[in-house]
């Protein structure tokens, strides 16, 4: 047999060993899930008790006057806003207040909470580090 056809035969013969073995493959006895997280607790008697906090709930604010749609028109040009960085955020939110207090003479470096900065992430609901919310 020619070299090319011998080498090509290696492509065609044999099962695909590399793709993931999901619940869609295998015999009927292959029962596995696709990674859904539990929405409650299994009690010792075998009963499943749903826990309200573990069931995801979408919190959507009022969409009155909201004009954005799923897609953007092809005619829209590229935006000219620079990407937001931490320095820009600081300069726009906190820096003016610090500057004003510094000029008045009331700046106190031990009392930075009044500008919105948090000393530690311990008591917060949405911690920034380690991030404990899904976005």
């Amino acid at each position: 047999m020619g070299l090319l056809s011998t080498l090509t035969r290696g492509l065609i013969r044999g099962a695909d060993r590399m793709s993931a073995f999901t619940s869609k493959r295998g015999p009927r006895s292959n029962y596995k899930g696709r990674g859904a997280r539990p929405a409650g607790r299994l009690t010792c008697s075998g009963k499943f008790v749903p826990v309200r906090e573990m069931i995801p709930e979408f919190v959507v604010p009022s969409l009155q006057g909201f004009n954005l749609k799923p897609y953007v028109s092809y005619r829209a040009p590229e935006g000219t806003e620079p990407t937001l960085t931490t320095e820009m955020l600081f300069n726009e939110t906190v820096a003016p207040h610090i500057k004003r207090d510094f000029e008045e003479g009331t700046f106190d470096k031990n009392n930075l909470e009044k500008y919105g900065l948090d000393p530690e992430q311990k008591g917060k609901l949405f911690k920034l580090h380690p991030k404990n919310f899904v976005r």
Binding site: N67, K69, S73, A76
Partner: protein, 216 residues
């Protein structure tokens, strides 16, 4: 061995050093049939043209200097940089049947053969004759292709989208955000996260906190 070394090995060994690129994309079945792993063919020598000196682009009109359709002008449909190939629309073509079954003879189509860059020449827009082309700078500092014979600038062909959408003629559909609404700036910078702002806006109060948990 180191993870980065392993990953770069996998990326580099995607094609062997003497892989012969053809007109089919390398991941298609036809290309895999012609170049199965373990194939060693005679090397094809390709002139090394650096990226700055590349003068022919998709959509250009060029003239054929050698071959069956010598003297004809055509539009470039595809450019293969790895073989210095160019495919023109309908020119240098052989004809074949595709999609044939046992009873149907198939559709008769023209399949164009690639042409090397040496068999091609760009056309001067003033007299529509083939010329040599060089790269020069304009007064503004823009790098353009200039015909060496007449000095006329050969503009680059406009880039057309493969889905056929022409931006100026686009009509917004029901799911398209209009341009003014998309460009409106409504963001006010604040130190709160999105979740905290939504909770403030909707008046949701959450005083419970999670138990401390540890993971290793």
């Amino acid at each position: 061995m180191r993870l980065t070394a392993l990953l770069s090995m996998a990326a580099k060994a995607a094609f062997p050093r003497d892989y012969r690129y053809g007109t089919s994309r390398p991941w298609t079945f036809a290309a895999k049939r012609r170049n199965p792993p373990g194939l060693h063919r005679r090397k094809v020598f390709v002139d090394d043209i650096p990226n700055e000196n590349w003068s022919v682009f998709k959509g250009d009109t060029v003239e054929i200097l050698a071959g069956k359709d010598k003297g004809k002008q055509g539009k470039v449909i595809q450019v293969f940089r790895h073989r210095n190939w160019v495919i023109l629309e309908g020119l240098n073509a052989h004809y074949r049947f595709i999609g044939k079954t046992n009873d149907y003879r198939g559709t008769y189509i023209a399949s164009e053969a690639p042409l090397l860059l040496t068999q091609i020449s760009l056309i001067d827009p003033t007299d529509r004759k083939p010329t040599e082309v060089g790269w020069r700078f304009t007064e503004e500092g823009e790098r353009v292709r200039v015909s060496t014979r007449t000095g006329r600038i050969i503009p680059k062909p406009p880039v057309q989208r493969s889905d056929g959408v022409v931006r100026e003629q686009w009509k917004d559909g029901p799911k398209d955000t209009p341009t003014e609404d998309a460009l409106l700036k409504t963001y006010t910078p604040s130190l709160k996260t999105l979740e905290e702002e939504v909770m403030d806006a909707m008046g949701i109060k959450e005083d419970r906190r999670n138990h401390t948990s540890y993971w290793y």
